[in-house]
Amino acid sequence: MEVGSKKALDIPSALGAVKDGDVIFFGGFGSNGNPSALIEGLSKTNLKNLTVVNNGGGSDDSGLGSLLESGAIAKIICSFPYERDSVIFRDLFQAGKIELELVPQGTLAERIRNAGAGLGGFLTKTGLGTEVAQGKQEIEVGGELYILEKPLRADVALLRADTVDTRGNLTYRGSARNFNPVMAMAARHTIVQASKEVALGETEPGVIVTPGIYVDQYVISGGGSI
């Protein structure tokens, strides 16, 4: 067996790594680059008290929508809670049944990147003078004021890729890359839904975006928009 060799799993087996109370990254930007089959699989489990990190609050017809409706999610960390034609998140939030941590999108991506890069936080001007700055430390550097933002890590990442090889090396298609690469680096356990499995060595090393050392398990599923 080659070093670091992995093999495709079925969705329920792959999701066996997720526990009650976990913080979970969902890759994607709306439906683009979203691990729809894994999230749908998650909505069939009886997991509870999850914290989900996702760019949006989930459209009603998505796996995240079903997961919200089932009551599995206690908290969501996102930049864009009210996705188009979405009422599930709105109703839960207004009824006080879900906690929201609203984060500007670039800050969200950078907090995740920081966690993966082993950094303790970063200074940004994003959010200065806004509600987002409330309760955060402001620090002056070189005469300029910044907000301190802290790293954001997860127990599990559910991600979407185009190709995966048996080491877990990933490539992405089009704009489906989005949050997936930084999330892969910042989760304790990363599960990938890829469209195609390729042989080790088949992908030109310079084209690989996420090295397989960040990937723990994968499933093969085309289904829907990548």
Partner: protein, 226 residues
């Protein structure tokens, strides 16, 4: 002064997008926000020398695809199908926002709920709502060298959106340099709002009546070129 302007004198969304497209200069990297701003991609000429950035990781976004030619994996910041222009590059979300914060955006075109005379922008939460969509607006508005607000001059309820001080929650302070509305083009200067262009058939006094802040009039005032 009556603030109701005859419907047929208001610029359509498409006409506003055409006007904004004319403003984008060769060599510029420009972010186009979701909603009306992204319509501008339809009117940016392939030979105009403008590189359009989409927050979800596209540097070099093209116009919307022709019907039947959509690629599920190529989407804009509103998760709508888009295209990649010749020479496009794709990056992940943290790199996409590094570009924005790092000063590489010559300009960002964003929608607005309110703009103040000092260029403060509000576009993420209506005061009556408990939360709202920040998305990438705070990062992009604080990072771009110039911010153009593209919006109707009045709210649906007929309230002016150009104000002395924001009454809506802030997105970014002192960022807006120019405002493109359905009746006027206005620059934000150290002296306040300056009316540069007015829609054909709309009077200067009408624009003033629709603006809840002092409005200076440029010596070079002209009709919005169509």
């Amino acid at each position: 002064m009556e603030t109701v302007i005859a419907e047929n004198l208001l610029l359509s969304r498409e006409a506003m997008a055409k006007r904004v497209a004319q403003e984008l200069q060769a060599g510029w990297v420009v972010n186009l926000g979701i909603g009306m701003p992204v319509l501008t991609t339809k009117y940016v000429g392939a030979d105009q020398g403008v590189i359009v950035h989409s927050e979800n990781g596209i540097i070099g976004m093209g116009p919307p695809p022709r019907e039947g030619e959509e690629d599920d994996d190529v989407r804009n910041a509103g998760n709508e199908p888009t295209t990649l222009a010749l020479g496009a590059a794709l990056v992940h979300q943290a790199d996409s926002f590094s570009l924005a914060r790092g000063g590489r955006l010559n300009c960002a075109v964003l929608g607005g709920f309110q703009v103040s005379t000092s260029g403060d922008l509000a576009n993420w939460r209506l005061p009556k709502n408990p939360t709202g969509n920040i998305g990438g607006a705070m990062d992009i508005a604080s990072g771009a060298n110039e911010v153009f607000a593209m919006m109707s001059h009045l709210t649906k309820q007929g309230e002016p959106k150009l104000v002395e001080e924001l009454t809506y929650p802030v997105t970014t302070l002192a960022c807006v340099t120019k405002i493109f509305t359905d009746i006027a083009v206005i620059t934000v200067t150290g002296e306040g709002f300056v009316l540069e262009e007015v829609a054909s058939g709309v009077g200067v006094e009408q624009v003033k009546a629709c603006t809840a802040a002092p409005l200076l009039v440029s010596d070079a005032l002209q009709d919005i070129p169509m």
